[in-house]
Amino acid sequence: MVDITQQDIDTVYPKVAATIADALGCDEDEVKRDASLINDLGAESIDFLDLVFRLERTFKVKIPRGKIVEDSRGALSEAEFEQKGLVTERGLAQLKAFLSEVPAERFRAPLKVAEIPRLFTTETFCKLVIRAQRA
């Protein structure tokens, strides 16, 4: 897939940020580009389902549920990516590359697979939308 440029992100950013603010019941200025939706904005699991639904409606795209986590594995098999619920070393490198918008210091081993969504930022969802638009 062709790389996603900052310009691509900037194009969808305003609508994505507004959608996140709606879904999380916060003000738009609280939705920073590198804000972790869970750690900084208090998102819960159901909020992600709601957010993805809202993004689909706003951008008129289809986003299969669990898409980010699935895509984040890249070419790695499940066994290569995780072992006993923890992201492997190779997995972590792959994850850093895939979630290039997330500040590097936030990737700390050992990282539980279940904790991956904590890394997702506003720009992560911009990229999700862009990939769905290109699909």
Partner: protein, 433 residues
């Protein structure tokens, strides 16, 4: 033997067609002004009944400072959140992380979780005929909106209230149609008596002012068709009554173990002293003409409250304004009070705010607490023509100043559920050793 715990009502919250808080609702109930009017929430022009008592000028975002929580709230949940907020503010006490497990929650839950727009959209999306087309259903905006599913849960109101207020003890949702609100409050009282919790938030919420709710009540002939005169359509116990006026809203009370309330110097509106619950086991939508069912509920509530019929000064009747309910309830009042039936004051506040269905018993419990606190009995509005089957000492014309030792609140539901709550003046000790 340890004495049974007494239960104090220390906080009230109301969102009703008569007002969006306790003060405005209470003022309307004293004025005798009936709040029926043309339905504005949806286009009711094709229905045989086109009137209701709606909650007006209610903006959830203006009164509830948690937008995320409102995402999970339908219209009736928003009423509940607002009324519960009021009750806590009024009581001046709320759960803390330390006291949370000692707080309970009992809620009379509204009948319908899914609004018409969602239902209609689902129906349109799911297929052309009677068969569901799962692909179309799951592709539709409503079918794949997780919030629609969350809001439609019968436990959604309970979950939202518990979360907003950090209630961590026993919580339950009650649904027994029009008896729900009363039974929820009675349940909370028993939780405190048993020592399961020390304090509780209890109440009810509902809004059936929607196409499906209205259609059902029109079909049953339960709602008044007096579209041209909505402020006189609800006339409980009047000989010309011809159905109820559909209302909506929420009522919540904060209940505390007596010693808990005293220890913090709380204002006690009234003692929640007893409840009686019976099932008429008769017919689904008919009340027993003899008053069987409500009779037992009232007697058990009085016994539970250590009170006799002579102690009762006020009955807030279920009084829906349907021919059958009012006749049956009058018969029950005559059986319970015997020769004293002419002495006890009776009013149905549904004459002014309509029938709040699952919220009715909770709102009317708050009204009984206010009647005791203020020594004023609200009006039974629109009573003009006496019905020989409903000879009661009705509070007509204007509110009646009257000291109240014991008040009863009846809530009688479709399906035969009968709830009666008994309230005592905090200083009335008659009947107690």
């Amino acid at each position: 033997m340890t004495a049974r715990r007494r239960v104090a009502i220390t906080g009230l919250g109301l969102v009703t067609p008569a007002g969006n808080d306790v003060a405005s609702t209470w003022a309307t109930l004293q004025s005798g002004r009936s709040m029926g009017g043309p339905i504005t929430i949806f286009d009711a022009s094709g229905f045989s009944t086109r009137i209701a008592a709606e909650v007006k000028n209610f903006d959830p975002r203006a009164v509830i400072d948690d937008r995320r929580l409102l995402k999970y709230a339908n219209r009736s949940h928003a009423f509940a959140l607002a009324a519960a907020d009021q009750a806590f503010a009024d009581a001046g006490v709320r759960p803390t992380p330390a006291t949370s497990p000692r707080w309970g929650l009992a809620v009379g839950t509204g009948m319908m979780g899914m609004g018409w727009p969602e239902l209609s959209s689902l129906g349109l999306a799911a297929g052309d005929g009677e068969d569901v087309d799962p692909e179309r259903l799951l592709a539709s905006d409503t079918g794949r909106d997780p919030m629609v599913f969350c809001r439609a849960q019968n436990a959604a109101g309970l979950a939202l209230l518990g979360r907003r207020h950090g209630i961590g003890g026993y919580a339950t949702s009650v649904h027994t149609a029009c008896a729900s609100g009363g039974q929820a409050i009675g349940t909370a009282m028993k939780l405190i008596r048993r020592g399961t919790v020390d304090c509780a938030l209890a109440g009810g919420f509902d809004s059936m002012v929607n196409p499906v709710g209205l259609a059902g009540f029109c079909l049953l002939g339960a709602v008044s068709p007096d579209n041209d005169d909505p402020t006189h359509a609800s006339r409980p116990f009047d000989a010309t009554r011809n159905g109820f006026v559909l209302g909506e809203g929420a009522g919540f009370v904060v209940l505390e173990a007596w010693e808990h309330a005293l220890a913090r110097g709380a204002r006690i509106y009234a003692e929640l002293a007893g409840d009686g619950n019976s099932l008429s086991s008769y017919r689904i939508t008919d009340s027993h003409p003899s008053g069987d069912g409500p009779i037992q509920a009232m007697r058990w509530a009085l016994a539970d409250a250590d009170a006799t019929p002579d102690d009762v000064d006020y009955v807030n009747a279920h009084g829906t304004s349907t021919p059958m309910n009012d006749r049956s309830e009058s018969a029950a009042i005559h059986v319970v009070f015997g020769d004293g039936a002419g002495r006890v004051s009776v009013s149905s506040t549904k004459s002014m705010m309509g029938h709040l269905i699952a919220a009715a018993g909770a709102v009317e419990a708050a009204i009984c607490a206010l009647s005791i606190h203020h020594g004023v009995l609200p009006v039974n509005a629109n009573y003009v023509n006496p019905d020989p089957d409903c000879e009661l000492n009705l509070v007509t014309g204007q509110a009646r100043p009257h000291a109240v030792r014991v008040a009863l609140s009846n809530s009688l539901g479709f399906g035969g559920s009968n709830s009666c709550l008994a309230f005592r003046h905090p200083e009335f000790d008659g009947g107690r050793a």
